[in-house]
Symmetry: C2
Subunit: 159 residues, 2 copies
Amino acid sequence: SYKFISSKRLEEVKIFFPDSKPVKEEPLSQARLFPRSLEEGLGFEYAMFHNQVENRTVCILQGGPYLQGIPGFLHGGAIATMIDSTVGMCAVLTGGAVMTANLNINFRRPIPLCSVVVINSQLDKIEGRKLFVSCNVQSLDEKTLYSEATSLFVKLDPK
Amino acid sequence: SYKFISSKRLEEVKIFFPDSKPVKEEPLSQARLFPRSLEEGLGFEYAMFHNQVENRTVCILQGGPYLQGIPGFLHGGAIATMIDSTVGMCAVLTGGAVMTANLNINFRRPIPLCSVVVINSQLDKIEGRKLFVSCNVQSLDEKTLYSEATSLFVKLDPK
């Protein structure tokens, strides 16, 4: 029951923040979704799948050579980016328009550049406007645990 | 007493992880430090300054149009990337070779795309091999608090 999610979906979540200054129009015309901003094969190569019955989102990721932190390994920020994207997708598909309020990541082991990993996320609970989503990042054979994370999303009031 | 830090310094921290599989050599030759992987003006435009007396690192950042999350605002992963880089720089310049073990970020308000922000980080304490570094992300006039974070770094044994 996994369904492929177009990455355009996140881009389409247009939300109005009444007390934030809007960006000038010119840079917005150039804007790209961050995880899709690097050329093919160099940055984030990923696909996400969502299980609507179990409220779980799975991401298969290969981090390319432009995502380096310590030589030979992914930058912590690149890992955080795909974790935020995956738990965010799980939250959006469960709760609609949401914003990340907290992200807490434990980095257990460095992820070799260009290796393929799986991010397994699930909705843990909903309390009012709060959605709690957690995930882990593992090797494809699930023998190596690279990272674990918890996150909190807050539903946005469309008014 | 702030000193400009070359971004090459982080790239030069070569660390050996004995039980991690090394990456094939070919992609390594293409490797780029993640926050420097996007073309000028489109991604992370930043400079860092370190105060060796107070163990503080300051980062001035302008996040370009390729770092978009929600339309018009920076992706949470882009914010996490520069937070990790800044607290990481503070930890490296204080403790030498280190690795991020934990990163805990509270996102208070979304950061408009192309705005300039300041990340102020400081070493809070050292316990054996553990370094605790915290930071906040504010507007240039320090009137708007965008994010706050705590982090834990572990010193790596060079053997």
